[in-house]
């Protein structure tokens, strides 16, 4: 039987053939009769009061559909967490490119010209552009203190450790904004009719987020909103919350015009107006014993949320919990906050806060090593978390993870020690310096803390009279392999061939709410529910006596046919139940932050060219423990893709800001890695399993975003002996860091034991 060979095997991607033949249908491939195109008129200033909107009399405005905030039938906000972001600004604008007015027309060329023919006058208000200005609170732009959210994590008594410390090591680290840069821009089509309400087809990750936002915006009940996910050309978090905005705009234009409306951004609009990774600043102050053990420390982690709260509180949460890395802290105080600035809101991006705080932690570990006088390897060894110890949130590590083993294996795979010795010799001459760096880290799978409990996900499995099975989930495919992996799990549970199980297109009138497709939760949490729901189908057929043990697909088919002939339909649902032993305190930020962690050690080898100031990565080893690998080819693809994106985060991708607006909003001058820029990315897995995931799977999608940046910058320091605190590290940034003034500053802080 096929049963034993479905999970853990690289079966063909479900929608793979459609993708390699060009048959796959993305939203921009869809055209509806009578369809108009929509466009957005946006603010051109960071903060101000809207005084007057005027329309160039040379344009035949009667031919256009025009929507302002006054046309909104429901609430003028994008429903998410705090509901503070307007769908269309009406009195004030709080960031550049904020939507103010919508236009639609059948002719895209005329539409473009019309957008340019609207002029808006403002009374400017003082803007806030940096985290420092925001926390000074001399100008308040959000709430009473410019702070969307803050957390405090406390473990042990950190105030007493400083006097015992042999060394106190300080450091400050920065990460920049990063554009998700999915190759398919954001896009939707909306249709309204009074009888059925609003239907939206779109490129998106979370159909039920859009559903919830449209209910509030359109003032329509649940059953009058339908959201359908089309094939989605990359997302990486960038299509988690933003689709609610663009879907809202298309829906408003369709309600006003009574016609289908398509809005598909071009690249410049997508880059300038939609979300990016939160820029961050992390400060570490760590008490270390003379034998290199962390006694305790203070960590301050701050992120720039942009103009509205959107998902910043949740991004901050993940960054907070990951701030201590995979190390044992006898005591720690972690203070974190998400601040408002007058830029477009920053949002979800693979890793979700963890790449930021882990960059700081892993740079800081190398700093600790230098101050204490141990190697980068040794200082990590002495501080790794071990089973039975607790994390910064006092979660007991129950997994049998052996980080020393993981480290040893990564060092061996990368030939770390031999290379390290060789580079020291070779670097004595020439302008091209080689270095090697490591990063050890962890990534929690699923929603943080009580998040999964609140989500309360529901999954369905349906069998047809022909014996074919459909998995019903709102979990979306956007490249990661959702369709394939969930069908593997379903087929395995039902002892059917992989080909007999398909996944329903996410459509809120067809699939239940299995939660958003985020947080590396799909394989682990939704997968487990698919397994239970599929088991439910089997149990139903067995209990009714239609199916015996060890059945063939033909017998399964006959049983389904007989069952459906009598009862009409065969469906089974499974709802998430929080494991009884997972405890989390939202107030104290204490407890079991995640049901499982994935663990990793990455090693980067770099060359720093002191003539061009360019850094290239020559070799990359990515070793991780992710529980059971359900599909080796897909899993490897998640890691290589994540590492590539993280190499971009470290070395290539820089958002250039001017008055709160991204000014390099083109692929021409915002550089992502091409096929000639990347090293061989060598991927290795360890499989410990996980009791909470389907077949022992954990999350995998975000993990590879966390480690590469610190491993690379650690390698740069190894190569040239200069401390770098900030990414992205483009040649001009390295040039700056190597100027005599910068080096002097560096030497001074070194003498003080601070970074």
């Amino acid at each position: 039987m096929q049963k034993r060979h479905i999970v853990g095997v690289s079966v063909p991607r479900k929608e793979g053939w459609d993708k390699v033949t060009g048959e796959a249908r993305y939203v921009d491939d869809m055209v509806l009769p009578g369809m108009l195109y929509g466009a957005t008129v946006r603010s051109n200033m960071p903060r101000g009061k809207i005084r007057k909107i005027s329309f160039d009399p040379g344009v035949a405005w009667d031919d256009f559909v025009l929507v302002t905030a006054k046309d909104i039938p429901g609430k003028n906000y994008i429903a998410l967490i705090l509901d503070d972001q307007p769908c269309l600004a009406s009195e004030t604008v709080n960031h550049p490119e904020e939507p103010i007015l919508l236009l639609a027309h059948a002719d895209r060329h005329k539409l473009r010209k019309a957008v340019e023919s609207v002029s808006i006058e403002y009374e400017p208000l003082p803007p806030v552009h940096t985290m420092e200005e925001s926390e000074q609170q001399s100008t308040i732009i959000w709430g009473t203190d410019n702070t969307f959210k803050s957390y405090l994590v406390e473990k042990g008594d950190v105030d007493t450790v400083w006097k015992e410390a042999a060394h106190i090591v300080e450091g400050e680290y920065f990460t920049g904004a990063q554009e998700q840069l999915y190759i398919e821009n954001n896009g939707v089509i909306a249709v309204f009719d009074p009888e059925n309400g609003v239907t939206v087809w779109g490129s998106l990750q979370c159909p039920y987020y859009v559903h919830k936002a449209l209910m509030a915006l359109c003032g329509l009940p649940e059953d009058k909103i339908r959201v359908v996910q089309m094939e989605t050309g990359g997302a990486f978090g960038g299509k988690e919350e933003y689709p609610s905005m663009i879907a809202g705009h298309a829906a408003l234009l369709s309600i006003k015009s009574g016609r289908p409306v398509k809005i598909v951004y071009d690249r410049m609009e997508d880059m300038v107006a939609t979300t990016k990774r939160h820029p961050s600043r992390t400060r570490h102050r760590t008490a270390v014993s003379k034998d290199g053990k962390i006694l305790g420390g203070e960590i301050e982690f701050t992120i720039d949320g942009g103009a509205y709260a959107t998902l910043s509180s949740v991004v901050l949460s993940r960054g907070t919990i990951h701030a201590g890395g995979p190390y044992y802290w006898p005591s720690v105080r972690i203070r974190t906050k998400a601040l408002a600035t007058n830029t477009p809101p920053h949002g979800a991006f693979r890793g979700f806060g963890a790449p930021q705080s882990l960059f700081a932690m892993e740079r800081h570990m190398d700093r600790i090593a230098q101050v204490v006088g141990f190697s980068s390897v040794e200082v990590r060894r002495r501080n790794f978390l071990k089973p039975g110890q607790t994390t910064t949130t006092q979660q007991v590590i129950r997994e049998k993870i052996d980080l020393n083993h993981l480290l040893d294996r990564a060092l061996e795979l990368s030939d770390y020690h031999a290379k390290k010795t060789r580079f020291v010799k070779e670097n004595k001459v020439g302008m091209r310096k080689k270095g090697i760096g490591i990063a050890a880290f962890l990534h929690g799978a699923g929603f943080t803390g009580s998040g999964e409990r609140y989500l309360n996900s529901l999954v369905g499995v349906e069998a047809g009279a022909d014996g074919n099975v459909r998995v019903l989930v709102s979990s979306a495919e956007f490249g990661q392999g959702t369709n394939t992996v969930l069908c593997q799990i379903g087929a395995d549970a039902l002892e059917l061939p992989y080909e007999s199980v398909a996944i329903a297109q996410p459509d809120t009138t067809v699939v239940p709410n299995s939660g958003p497709t985020v947080a590396s939760r799909t394989a682990m949490i939704v997968g487990k529910l698919v397994q239970s729901a599929a088991q439910g189908i089997k149990d139903t057929l067995t209990k009714t006596g239609l199916l015996g043990d060890n059945y063939t697909p033909e017998q399964f088919c006959a049983a389904c046919r007989d069952y459906i002939a009598v009862r009409g339909a065969l469906k089974s649902y499974a709802r998430y139940e929080a494991p009884g032993d997972v405890y989390w305190d939202d107030e104290k930020y204490r407890g079991e932050a995640y049901a499982a962690f994935a663990w990793a050690v990455y090693v980067a080898e770099v060359t720093v060219d002191l003539t061009t100031y360019a850094v290239t990565v020559d070799d990359f080893v990515a070793l991780q423990e992710v529980g059971k690998v359900l599909h080796p080819v897909l899993a490897e693809g998640q890691i290589t893709g994540g590492v590539a994106q993280a190499i971009g985060f470290a070395l290539y991708e820089k958002v250039v800001w001017q008055n709160g607006r991204m000014i390099n909003n083109q692929i021409t001058n915002y550089i992502m890695p091409t096929s000639v820029d990347l090293p061989p990315i060598r991927v290795f897995f360890e499989e410990l399993g996980n009791v909470y995931g389907a077949h022992g799977a954990k999350g995998i999608g975000e993990l590879p975003m966390d480690g590469p940046a610190p491993a690379i910058v650690n390698a740069v320091e190894d190569a040239i002996g200069v401390r770098i605190h900030s990414i992205p590290l483009l040649p001009e940034d390295l040039f700056e860091a190597l100027r005599p003034e910068s080096l002097e500053q560096n030497a001074l802080s070194s003498a003080r034991g601070t970074a």
Partner: protein, 165 residues
Amino acid sequence: MNSLPGMGAKCEFLIAVNGETKMVLAHPMERLLDVLRNQLRLTGTKEGCGEGECGSCSVLLDGMLVNSCLVPVAQASGASIVTIEGISVHVLMSPLQEAFLECGGAQCGICTPGMILAAVHLLEKKPEPALADIREGLAGNLCRCTGYMQIFEAVAKAARRRVAK
């Protein structure tokens, strides 16, 4: 209605697309990409950036790999175009498509049609490419999902199979 500023009046153009001659009525400066997608409904060719950086709109124009977002339709007049839908007329496509599937060369799929056309073009010039040739040959096509490793593997595999035949 037939003329737009800077685009000139609509003209008739003959273009051979995937082996079939098509008459299109378009402004001379209209992008080949839009003519393929909107008039001929060949939506396998994708728009990623609209400025010739990402390669998602790659097609073959008289055997040359071009970004169809940068080609005015007038320039394609009389030319022979191959798009991803041209699978049946192009012997290289199928082994490449199979290899992309097996190796995980397609994730979200949006860059895939352009990437496959770039690979077709490469294998025509270099039937037995070294890794460096593959990297160079695909350098005009951005992929944000895979980190390219599995795409390199797919192209190498397709080349090996083709040579073995």
